[in-house]
């Protein structure tokens, strides 16, 4: 059977011309990538994780963090390979599109987008609450919205500048951890009670999973910047592994130091565990408390700025490929910032933050993240097996997929309501796809091009 490929094969020149007009600027270096991915998740060290102590004791928490760390190391190792193969702004969408075709590709991108928008909303809420409690009681909402849109403005200046600032803020955050560790270490053991007897249960472990995932979820933001990296094959693996290592070390440091320095059940009720601990131990040192609580705000700023990079790239790539309305595809001439894909979801973030409940949002974020990771892992397995590579190359992906499956079962059993809400959100995406996005995809978008080339190869082989 003869097939006509003329409408699929686009000449090299056309592609280059297209990516010159609609592609992003290649400016990012390893250090900046590290800054983005660590920055995006660093606020997780300041907030949220202590809620897991409601369900497990510190040993359980440490064990669970260890397991989740292994899971993330596996994920990262697969994702670096994927993004080196397909270095486009689309990330999970690009991989899934290549492996399973349009509908699944769109769905993967959509879920990832929901994940990022919801994390940003959670952090925005925490920031607002934080500003209200520790810095200014007047108009905290207005102050945080100003900070938020200030960051949108920073993103407008281009990926290079935004991520340079991100790197600075991330370093500041890490130095603040240093201050925290020095602060709790300079106090002598007071011989007081450090804990209670608390027996861990399987249910407790599953209930606390979202709060442990909170340390890590969002670290994959770096794969969404793949299109903007100067030398993706070199920088991405180094910075991604360095980032996950940094976060693992910090998480263990924070947990171990925190639960050892105070009566750990008292951490359950607080919103900001690190500040709570310092206030308990260093009540006399007003300078330390003031400095630490003032600079802690940098963690929220770093996270929001990093996550903005994430959702703007995801929305942009879906718009560029024609799934989302065309106006989201606009790029600033000089800096090559996808500004509409930045502004529109940012407004959604603010709206969600005003409407939703934090606990449910955190659970939705984790469920979406696990779905997005599953898509990437399955795509990897599919692409590799299609390429005829052996089981050895996909063993990491298979293990991660197994982890994802276990987590999903846990969510469905113990966070049933959030799972249902997430399914509703996904169903909305599916409806949108069949109503609007199915037609009119743009073949010239790099993610689509790449997938089409793959399809042609398969057809050619079959001929």
């Amino acid at each position: 059977m003869e097939r006509d490929f003329s409408n699929i094969l686009i000449s090299n020149k056309t592609t280059q011309g297209y990516s010159k007009e609609n592609g992003l600027k290649k400016t990012l270096t390893s250090a900046q990538l590290w800054g983005i991915s660590v920055g995006a998740v660093i606020s997780g060290q300041f907030i949220g994780w202590n809620n897991s102590l409601n369900y497990v004791n510190p040993f359980g928490l440490i064990a669970l963090t260890g397991l989740i760390s292994v899971f993330f190391v596996l994920l990262v190792s697969v994702m670096t390979k994927l993004s080196a193969m397909l270095p486009y702004a689309g990330g999970p969408y690009a991989y899934t599109r290549k492996a399973f075709g349009k509908p699944w590709g769109f769905l993967a991108g959509y879920v990832t987008m929901v994940e990022y928008i919801c994390i940003t909303a959670v952090i925005f809420l925490y920031m607002e609450h934080y500003i209200e409690n520790t810095i200014v009681a007047l108009w905290p909402g207005a102050v945080s919205i100003i900070v938020f849109f200030g960051l949108v403005g920073l993103q407008m200046l281009g990926a290079s500048k935004a991520s340079f600032i991100e790197l600075l803020i991330t370093c500041l955050c890490i130095s603040i951890f240093l201050l925290f560790f020095m602060g709790i270490n300079s106090v002598d053991w007071d011989g007081g009670d450090r804990g209670i007897d608390f027996v861990n249960s399987i249910e407790g472990y599953f209930m606390s999973i979202p709060y442990v995932l909170w340390f890590f979820v969002g670290i994959d933001v770096v794969i969404l910047t793949a299109e903007e990296i100067k030398k993706p094959e070199q920088s991405l693996p180094i910075s991604f592994f360095a980032a996950i290592l940094t976060i693992i070390i910090l998480s263990f440091g924070v947990i171990v130091f925190s639960v050892n320095s105070v009566y750990w059940p008292s951490l359950r009720g607080t919103d900001y565990p690190l500040i709570f601990i310092l206030e308990k131990l260093q009540r006399g040192d007003a300078v330390l408390l003031a400095v630490f609580s003032f600079f802690s705000i940098s963690s929220f700023v770093a996270s929001i700025n990093g996550l903005m990079t994430g959702y703007s790239r995801q929305v942009f790539s879906l718009a560029r490929a024609g799934y989302f309305p065309d106006f989201l595809n606009k790029i600033l001439d000089k800096t090559k910032t996808p500004y509409m894909a930045l502004i529109a979801p940012s407004i959604v973030v603010i709206v969600i933050a005003q409407l939703a409940n934090v606990t449910v949002l955190i659970q939705i974020v984790c469920i979406c993240a696990i779905i997005s990771y599953s898509f990437s892992m399955m795509a990897f397995i599919r692409i590799k097996t299609r390429g005829g590579e052996g089981f050895k190359s996909i063993i990491g992906a298979c293990l991660s997929l197994l982890g994802c499956a276990a987590l999903m079962v846990g969510f469905a059993r113990f966070q049933t309501i959030s799972t249902l809400i997430t399914l509703g959100v996904i169903a909305f995406g599916v409806l949108y796809y069949f109503a609007f996005a199915k037609v009119g995809t743009n073949r010239e978008a790099p993610e689509e091009m790449e997938a089409n080339v793959g399809e042609i190869n398969i057809i050619m082989e079959n001929l």
Partner: protein, 502 residues
């Protein structure tokens, strides 16, 4: 200016830079990729307000009280004049080697050679001073008192060793450190000053004014003595000139890098000094403490935990400053060795193939730096002649007199009617600015010499040895070694090389 800087990125600029260097008699051997920021950053890192001011604040406090901080803006203004006149020269002759090459061009090889040696001594002392200051800070951080000079010497040895290892891994690594150093300095100074002014402010503005100085019992002569602190801090802008052959469009980036690094250092240094001096509540207590003065002031103002945090920032800045200074020192040694101007030059100029660094020059730099610290420790007299001022005074004497020689020879060549202009020039102001700069450098040299006789003595001894070396070995070599290559020869060599590469 912007238009010219933007042009720096296109390939014709690379050709133009190569041609300009050929006109000066050299072949492009190093990779030209430094922009204006890197050029600024390397000088700013070597000047390093966080190192100079922190190390010598106690010295200023001891001799002139809090009012001694006023020497900083005064020295700053004059150093801007010096840097303007040297930047003008750097714009005409953007070659590695700095003062040594310039003086040679303006006068003759002999004077150039002596100028190069004096500058080399200054730079060895400068690196030693930075490393010693860092050693003192590290000691205080590890709760070792400042009287325990043996432990501090050991720490300095460790620092020099680590710096040398890092340097031998190549320029790329060092450049990465230097670029980040500029950011650390900006952010660090802002954080430290903000913390000190917010939480530690003890004094009113009147206490740092000259009015309080008049009532304090310090003499004006003593105030001159405290010029040491400010004058030592604001040296090191030669760094930009020494990387001329690696800068894009050097006749503009180098002068701008030099001038901006000094101006920024004066501004940020003044801010830092304001913060520290406003927090200095108890001068006698500060001077009697077993810690360096700045650490004592900060720990009093910010409490035990935050002060340690601040000291860590300072230690990082000082460490990078030391690294940058050592790199520059290696470059100066290499530049001199390349012209066979040092003993055993043929060994010193060997560049190792693994990381393309002159490893013997690194060894020489490390050894001389550490030996100088040991000598200063032996010569020091507790109370009257502490170790760090001996080293830093030697550094000032070396670097400032090399500047004076360069300025004088430049003025001399102007008087002979040689007028060349670079992209950066002062026009009619050139002559008065250079005149003032010359007088100023001579003034600082004599003040520092008067108050630090030990350092003056050390410099004299070294210079006598150097002169002997000149008459024994160098004089003949210089007469014989008088071959200069014409432009055509250089082009031919370049072509041969590019063929080899192909």
């Amino acid at each position: 200016v912007k238009a010219v800087l933007l042009k720096g990125k296109n390939p014709t600029q690379a050709l133009r830079d190569k041609e300009a260097l050929r006109k000066l008699g050299y072949i492009q051997e190093l990779d030209r990729n430094m922009g204006i920021f890197s050029n600024f950053a390397i000088s700013f890192s070597v000047i390093s307000i966080l190192t100079g001011l922190n190390s010598l604040y106690g010295y200023g406090l001891q001799h002139g009280g809090i009012t001694s901080i006023w020497t900083f803006p005064i020295v700053g203004i004059f150093q801007v004049i010096v840097v303007l006149s040297l930047a003008e020269i750097a714009s005409i002759y953007p070659v590695a080697g700095g003062v040594y090459k310039w003086t040679t061009i303006f006068t003759n090889k002999t004077i150039g050679w002596f100028c190069g040696w004096i500058s080399l001594i200054g730079w060895i002392a400068c690196t030693a001073g930075i490393d010693y200051g860092l050693g003192q800070f590290l000691a205080a951080f590890l709760n070792i008192g400042k009287e325990d000079s043996m432990s501090i010497l050991l720490l300095v040895g460790g620092i020099v060793f680590i710096h040398s290892i890092l340097s031998s891994y190549g320029v790329k690594l060092v450049r990465r450190f230097c670029d980040s150093s500029a950011v650390i300095h900006f952010v660090g100074v802002i954080i430290i000053t903000a913390l000190l002014l917010t939480f530690g402010s003890q004094n009113s503005f009147s206490e740092i004014s000259f009015e309080s100085f008049a009532n304090s019992g310090y003499t004006w002569g003593a105030l001159f003595q405290t010029f040491l602190m400010s004058a030592w801090t604001l040296t090191g802008f030669d760094a930009s000139a020494n990387v001329s052959e690696e800068s894009v469009n050097p006749s503009l980036t180098v002068p701008l890098g030099m001038v901006s690094s000094v101006v920024m250092s004066v501004i940020f240094g003044s801010i830092l000094l304001l913060g520290i001096s406003m927090a200095t509540a108890d001068v006698t207590g500060t001077l009697n403490s077993s810690q360096p003065a700045v650490i004592y002031v900060i720990s009093q103002a910010l409490g035990p935990v935050v002060s340690k945090y601040v000291v860590i920032i300072m230690i990082i800045a000082m460490f990078i400053c030391g690294l940058a200074a050592q790199t520059l020192l290696i470059r100066i040694i290499y530049a001199l060795a390349r012209d066979n101007a040092l003993p055993k030059s043929n060994i010193l100029k060997i560049v190792s193939s693994t990381h393309e660094m002159p490893n013997f020059s690194i060894l020489f730099a490390a050894a001389t730096t550490f030996i100088l610290c040991i000598v200063a420790t032996l010569l020091s007299v507790e109370g009257t002649f502490p170790i760090l001022p001996i080293i830093t005074a030697l550094s000032i004497l070396g670097i400032y007199s090399s500047h004076a020689i360069t300025l004088a020879s430049s003025l001399l060549s102007m008087a002979r009617g040689h007028v060349k202009k670079g992209a950066f020039n002062l026009g009619w102001f050139s002559l008065p600015v250079k005149g003032i700069a010359l007088v100023w450098t001579l003034f600082i040299c004599s003040v520092v010499f008067y108050f630090n006789l030990i350092s003056g003595f050390v410099l004299l001894v070294i210079m006598i040895a150097v002169s002997l070396y000149y008459f024994v070995a160098m004089k003949e070599q210089m007469i014989n070694d008088n071959i200069t290559l014409s432009e055509e020869d250089l082009i031919r060599i370049e072509q041969m090389r590019s063929k080899k590469e192909e």
